[in-house]
Symmetry: C2
Subunit: 363 residues, 2 copies
């Protein structure tokens, strides 16, 4: 997993990179695939161009969903994602189930009960009606299982060669159940970092399907809805639950870095504690990928006060989707914005965000 | 505007077409551009495939926004649209301003005050950062003028040749202000049909920009936010305001047909009363288009009880965006689902939905 680096030197590099992020983005002339990969380049695009233009306190928090105060003390969670995954069908799911789970999960980790989804389709002229039907039925089934209706939608068709079969946008609204503030800025030194299961399944499943590889072991995407796991944590752990995230594009490495930045803390995780299926590990070695930067679509990371960590772990493990939950590390006071990996060999290396674009169109 | 037809015979044809709509769609194998044009084929796709799969009472109403009951008696309006307009920049606006106005207008005609928007970008690799900046700034400006924040977003990048520069999805949430039920099913015989200004401007402006035509008169898109017009009607007219719609894709003809179907009534409109700018009329003649089927992006249709119609007209005319408001017709008991045009020559012809696809990618 790369060579060891001097933390102080890397920290200085990160600081310089952050300071120059905006100005560097301004110098770019064209969008690249990296800008959509969920790692550093995506961050630059959002922080350097889109964020400043739209700037407002809700957007600026850059959390998975915006939380909007409504009259009568209600708090509405609101989120959106576009899905451009290639191929459209992969072991364990398709773009339709993904589009429902992904947006429900953004609501769930924001502490909200999903209330309704929208669905916007951009279809390419000539797209197969049979495939469209399969995708729409997968969305309907996923939504029905969760108990969230798809209440509004839109369909556009673009000429052949101006799309890629189908792109789906879903937005979601939910009512926030947690009465305390959750978010990256609520994460505190001492918090335990809990991961709800093995990582990299979705990224590897899509990559294998895309490249048409034949591997002995079938690897399925973990695409699943996290609303039940999240709700049980909220009910069982209460305000000791400081933050939840779902490590999708950019993987656990990118999500941990986002939390380290949003909390002004450091995070240390144990490489040996992070569950990776042997077949996923094997595929990663063949494909030259790091499971820590691969997308997951049915896993959550929870940041929990130390005294409640064991209880949180027990709650998660009681649910089929959280059976393999583990504590993978803890939050430290500093150096701020730093994520460390304590390696199996006893070393300590900086775990950076996804850089570049090993896996475009993973969701 | 086409030859006169025997209403009874046309009605029978419509009835047969409706009955076989689902089965006909099932027989199709591939998506065509017509499925995205907002007319009959779009209706078939939605009624024959997407609607039945997602079926629930909120979606089934097929209104511009879904209205969701929340705790404490709050009613949330929720809507989404994807924008694929080509070209991206046209006289009077660009895909960014359109993406904000279009979704705000869907909330507005649903009787809601816009509370927040989401923005999902699908960028094509190689897309110009300068153009992206101009589009994002137009969105930010439009949102700021309306006073609605863009609170959550997402950015995906697809490989060169798999997109067309930029596609934008916006979803919107709002709080419904009207305490009475508005919608197509609230429209009643006797209701006056009010149109807030001249039609076809957006459709013609985009068409001219797309084809690079040089015309003497510059025709600008009418892209504008309708939230103020709608709010004033709600406050001033009260429960005599039965329904509002914004006639976008498919134009006034398609919207009137949707209302006739949703209300089980007939609608009769006077051709002479419908305002069309002379330069729009001229361009339509050159391009072979019917202004009644062209998209508008800053006009509303209001269905108002007869005793309140003059007041509604006065209120609309007091606002710059409604200065040219007129009563264009009225709702009749039957024959159900029928829209008639009383022609300038004194005839009466059936006004059908947009059929086929004269104008793909108009929004």
């Amino acid at each position: 997993m790369g060579e060891q680096a001097d933390p102080a030197r890397v920290l200085e590099k990160i600081r310089i990179a952050e300071e120059t992020r905006r100005s560097r983005f301004i110098g770019q002339e064209a969008i690249t695939l990296s800008h959509g990969a969920g790692g550093k380049a995506s961050f630059e695009l959002i922080e350097g161009l889109i964020g400043p233009a739209f700037s407002n306190p809700l957007l600026d928090s850059l959390d998975d969903a915006a939380v909007i105060g409504l009259p009568q003390g209600l708090r509405l969670a609101f989120t959106t994602d576009s899905y451009t995954v290639s191929p459209l069908f992969f072991p364990g799911g398709n773009i339709g189930s993904l589009a429902v789970h992904g947006t429900v999960n953004d609501l769930a980790v924001s502490g909200a009960v999903p209330v309704a989804l929208s669905a916007g389709f951009i279809l390419e002229e000539g797209f197969s009606v049979t495939q469209l039907r399969a995708i729409v039925e997968a969305m309907a089934l996923a939504a029905r299982k969760i108990g969230v209706p798809i209440v509004t939608g839109d369909t556009k068709v673009v000429p052949k060669g101006k799309g890629d079969g189908i792109y789906i946008n879903t937005a979601g609204v939910g009512i926030v159940r947690a009465v305390w503030h959750m978010g990256r800025d609520a994460v505190q030194p001492g918090d335990r970092v809990i991961l709800s299961g093995s990582i990299g399944d979705h990224g590897v499943a899509v990559m294998i399907a895309r490249q048409g590889l034949e591997l002995e072991a079938e690897i399925e995407s973990d695409t699943s809805p996290l609303h039940e796991l999240a709700a049980r944590l909220i009910d069982g752990v209460g305000s000791a639950l400081h933050c939840m995230k779902d490590p999708t594009r950019g993987g656990v490495a990118t999500t941990l870095n986002e939390v380290a930045q949003g909390s002004n803390c450091a995070i240390a995780v144990d490489e040996a504690a992070i569950p990776v299926r042997p077949e996923v590990n094997g595929a990663c070695e063949i494909l030259g990928l790091d499971p820590l930067t691969l997308a997951n679509e049915g896993k959550l990371l929870a940041f929990v006060a130390p005294e409640a960590a064991e209880k949180a772990l027990r709650i998660l493990r009681e649910h089929p989707l959280g059976a393999d939950s583990v504590i993978i590390g803890e939050v430290e006071e500093g150096p701020a914005h730093m994520v460390y990996l304590r390696t199996i060999l006893g070393g300590r290396r900086v775990l950076d965000m996804l850089v570049g674009d090993p896996l475009p169109r993973i969701c």
